[in-house]
């Protein structure tokens, strides 16, 4: 293989770039303009819109020069829209300008097409020398497209009411079978064009079918946010949506070209066809083979991809950024017309090409020498400094919904039959203690304040919060009110164990996760998802304040922290009136906030046994069903060797994605509300999530990128050549031993993309950019 488009002799004639201008706006009849000379043509991709700088000769073109004579023109002929001699009309911002180059047979071929919004005229003087210059900055059609009405992205295209009604008759909303056509879709301006807001799907499950000639093009449309049947968009579906509703100027036509406005489709519809009905679960796994790279990129899911208020070009740039793909606009000849076609590709997956410096084998003809040597200036700078072998990916803290019994969080109190006085008294009888606790109910307002029980245990009692006796502070505010899980281990049995009753020393051992059957989910070394029990001692002795349940009612509202009491030693459980229970701030536990615990009864049992009496009788139990946080964070299991990382040393970097990947389970513990628990809940809140597979994929995609060298390079071919295109991948400079590999052995080799081609009068500069996906991976 050798270069093809090159001079053939030692002194070859150049085939220069020529400028052609539409004789009238929209005529598509291009006339070669001899006044114009291309100073520089740049073909780019993504947000680097192709552009050209064209210099215009102002002077007279006399007769006898082989081209039509023309008088000198002045800038006002163009700026002020005067008729321009020789062209019959003025050069306006609506006339397309094409740059072409003749092939070896002398036929012109288009390289670029655009509009000039910015003609520039200047006169400069330097001493005795004066000069005039007239130049045109011609920018690619993508820029003009982004100014059209249909390219403004806002609102949503959704099924009309009639269209939705028809679907509802035919199939359920969760069915993914295509239904309906372009006539069933309408524009809803009140909703913003945001794909998967807060990572929640807002795509209708069933796409519509838009018939384009003989071809059926499936397009997914929006549904409203919060639609329980809403599905998550994939990037392929987003791209197809943007194409059909904001790229093309119409949806009615016999071919894709007939739908085109300023821009035509190149390969976008074709490339999205194989993946349009797939979901993220169909995504190829990393490390990604070159053949799977496009599917890998397109089957990712956007999270809150906001396009509202953007132009299509801006949306495309963001989409390419987020998916690790590129797009470009190529101007190609289509008979007499020029089509500006949009092409997409996955990074590093373009046609592999090389540059050549093979040197000379003796007596080779010049034609062969130039085929084998086409670059004489190049700068290559491989950069391994950003390779990360071991990314530390931190998801959110893992949480479980548990049901656990609480134990008294107050020191044993003698008025609760828990201890005698320090002077050795025996415990008072339960009957006496009960009388002591209830006398105050008979007293009037003035005398009740003098009652000892009221004084110490009623919330309005003077000494409820504490009183000093012999320089010792006695506080009763926690008695029968503070119930704890004892996960901190600070409730030592020596201080808190009761000699009698159910709350003995055994119950004051530090709480174990295994008592709630807590199991943790993880990815094994072979890539499978497994669970294992959390071992005793694995969690540290820290406070774990309780959080609202993941289990929910029919409206998906959390059941909250469910505190239940038993009046019969744990046989049956029930709630007490709302408003009485508060959660502790710094540990797992509750606080009963009722004023008078002798007036707290079971539901519908106001004349029965009070909470205080039940405790005295040794039958009161308290349990809580809530969410508790563990010590571990959600994390992937990554094996850098699968990606062929070209470094032996281990380099690391932390990626905090706690806001993005969460894990909270109501199944992998003992919650009474879990699906196979004692009282299964109707549904669960949106906080019940399992992002383990997501974070694993995220980690793999990080390694996919972070394990590669960067290869920025600039190579100059000393003549104009069309051997290279934006989107090609440069594999090497043959003959020099320089290979643009980005990864070590064991990984999937990819090569840097050509992202820019710059043509001047005399040379072609090939610019590669192995810009990392890291630049665009969303970290929060």
């Amino acid at each position: 293989m050798a270069a093809i488009d090159h001079p053939h002799t030692r002194n070859d004639d150049a085939r220069p770039l020529t400028v052609w201008i539409e004789d009238e706006a929209g005529s598509e009849n291009y006339v070669k303009d001899p006044r114009c000379r291309v100073a520089e043509l740049k073909l780019g991709c993504d947000d680097d819109v192709s552009s050209a700088k064209v210099n215009v000769f102002l002077g007279e073109i006399p007769d006898g020069r082989g081209i039509d004579p023309e008088a000198a023109i002045s800038p006002s002929d163009v700026f002020d829209a005067e008729v321009r001699v020789g062209f019959g009309t003025f050069l306006s911002a609506d006339q397309r300008i094409a740059i072409r180059r003749d092939d070896e047979a002398g036929d012109p071929h288009t390289m670029f097409c655009g509009y000039c919004d910015e003609p520039q005229y200047s006169e400069e003087v330097s001493g005795a020398q004066a000069s005039k210059a007239f130049s045109l900055l011609v920018e690619g059609v993508l820029k003009r497209h982004s100014d059209t009405e249909y390219a403004q992205v806002y609102g949503r295209w959704m099924r009309t009411a009639a269209g939705q009604d028809a679907l509802d008759v035919a199939q359920v909303r969760s069915e993914t079978e295509p239904f309906g056509d372009a006539g069933d879709v309408g524009f809803v301006e009140s909703l913003a064009c945001v794909f998967n807001p807060d990572r929640k799907g807002n795509r209708a499950a069933a796409p519509v079918t838009i018939a384009v000639g003989d071809r059926d093009v499936l397009v997914h449309v929006f549904t409203h946010d919060g639609d329980p049947d809403g599905e998550q968009w994939t990037w392929a579906q987003v791209l197809r949506y943007l194409m059909m509703f904001h790229f093309f100027s119409t949806r009615t036509g016999d071919s894709l070209d007939e739908l085109a406005g300023e821009l035509s489709d190149g390969n976008t519809i074709d490339l999205t066809d194989p993946v349009i009905e797939l979901t993220t679960s169909d995504r190829p796994s990393a490390p990604v083979a070159v053949g799977d790279a496009w599917a890998y990129a397109m089957l990712g899911r956007p999270g809150s991809f906001v396009c509202e208020g953007c132009s299509l070009a801006e949306a495309f740039v963001m989409l390419a950024d987020a998916t690790g793909t590129h797009f470009r606009v190529d101007s190609v000849d289509d008979g007499e017309l020029i089509k500006n076609r949009c092409y997409w590709w996955a990074r590093g997956c373009g046609t592999q090409k090389d540059l050549y410096r093979l040197g000379v084998i003796s007596s080779e003809p010049i034609d062969v020498v130039l085929a084998n040597n086409n670059t004489n200036r190049y700068t290559v700078r491989p950069d391994a400094s950003d390779i990360i072998v071991n990314p530390i990916v931190r998801g959110d803290v893992m949480k479980w919904e548990i049901t656990a019994e609480l134990v008294p969080g107050w020191m044993p109190d003698r008025n609760l039959h828990e201890r005698a006085e320090d002077d050795g008294d025996e415990l008072s009888s339960i009957g006496d203690l009960l009388s002591f606790a209830t006398i105050h109910q008979e007293l009037d307002e003035e005398n009740v304040k003098l009652d000892s029980w009221y004084d110490q245990y009623h919330k309005r009692g003077c000494h409820f919060h504490g009183h000093e006796v012999d320089n010792v502070l006695h506080s009763h505010r926690d008695v029968l009110r503070k119930w704890v899980l004892r996960e901190t281990g600070s409730y030592r049995a020596a201080d808190y164990a009761r000699a009698e009753g159910p709350f003995t020393a055994d119950l004051y051992a530090p709480w174990k996760p295994s008592s709630c059957n807590i199991a943790i989910e993880y990815v094994d070394d072979d890539g499978t998802t497994k669970t294992r029990d959390v071992a005793d001692g694995e969690w540290s002795r820290i406070g774990r304040p309780l959080e609202d349940c993941l289990s929910a009612d029919a409206d998906r509202r959390s059941l909250g922290v469910v505190v239940e009491f038993s009046w019969d030693g744990g046989a049956t459980w029930e709630k007490i009136p709302a408003g009485s229970v508060k959660l502790l701030d710094s540990e797992a536990g509750i606080y009963l906030d009722a004023e008078d615990l002798t007036k707290v009864f079971r539901q519908n049992d106001e004349e029965g046994v009070s909470l205080w009496e039940a405790y005295l009788n040794g039958v009161l139990r308290v349990r809580v069903t809530a969410v508790i946080a563990g010590d571990a964070r959600l994390e992937p299991n990554l094996d850098a060797s699968l990606f062929g990382v070209p470094l032996a040393d281990c380099t690391s970097r932390l990626f905090d994605v706690a806001k993005r990947f969460k894990w909270a389970s109501r199944s992998l513990a003992n919650s009474q509300f879990r699906p196979n628990g004692a009282s299964p809940a109707v549904s669960e809140t949106s906080k019940c999530v399992d992002d383990l597979a997501e974070i694993q994929r995220y980690g793999e995609s990080l390694l996919e990128v972070l394990s590669r060298r960067q290869i920025p390079a600039s190579m100059t071919v000393p003549w104009i050549t069309q051997d290279y295109s934006v989107g090609d991948s440069i594999a090497s400079i043959l003959g020099t031993g320089i290979e643009f590999w980005t990864i070590g052995p064991g990984g999937v080799q990819r090569f840097p993309d050509v992202v820019s081609l710059v043509f001047t009068r005399a040379e072609t500069r090939v610019v590669t950019d192995d810009r990392r996906l890291l630049d665009v991976v969303r970290l929060t």
Partner: protein, 155 residues
């Protein structure tokens, strides 16, 4: 009136150099006013717009031609003129220098070169005077007319 021409006129030993154009500057050296030496103008080869490239460790140079460009025609001589003729010639020279537009240069062998423009014409200052048997006391001044042919070979 056709395209202005610059050409040799006359057959005497001292050639007259005239410029037929009327309003284009009139004759440069007219008969009876001055005399010039005779000698063929040098018609330089047409210039080539060439771009030279080389490769490290490959011998030789490669050339890409962007087309042929202008050609210079250099016409030197020595002028002999009287005081009166000198003043006239200097005035005519100024008109000639201000010549706008292109003209046709016709060589001594009647070869025509179209699309020509002229460089500003200077008369050298030798300060030499001599006595001419015919003209009497005269000034001697070398000159060089440089014409550039702009039009390409296809024109």
């Amino acid at each position: 009136m056709g395209v202005p021409r610059l050409q040799h006129v006359g057959t005497s030993a001292w050639l007259d150099i005239g410029l037929e154009a009327g309003a284009q500057g009139g004759a440069l050296w007219t008969a009876g006013t001055a005399r010039s030496t005779w000698g063929p103008p040098s018609i330089e080869a047409r210039g080539i717009d060439r771009q030279l490239e080389s490769f490290a460790d490959i011998d030789g140079v490669f050339e890409i031609r962007h087309g042929q460009r202008e050609r210079r025609i250099v016409w030197p001589g020595i002028l002999r003129m009287t005081d009166v003729a000198r003043a006239t010639i200097l005035a005519q020279r100024d008109s000639f220098n201000g010549l706008a537009g292109e003209f046709l240069y016709v060589d001594i062998d009647d070869t025509e070169y179209g699309g020509c423009v002229i460089e500003p014409l200077e008369l050298g200052r030798s300060g030499m005077r001599m006595t001419d048997p015919v003209m009497g006391l005269i000034w001697v001044a070398p000159y060089e007319i440089v014409v550039r042919q702009l039009a390409g070979p296809s024109a």
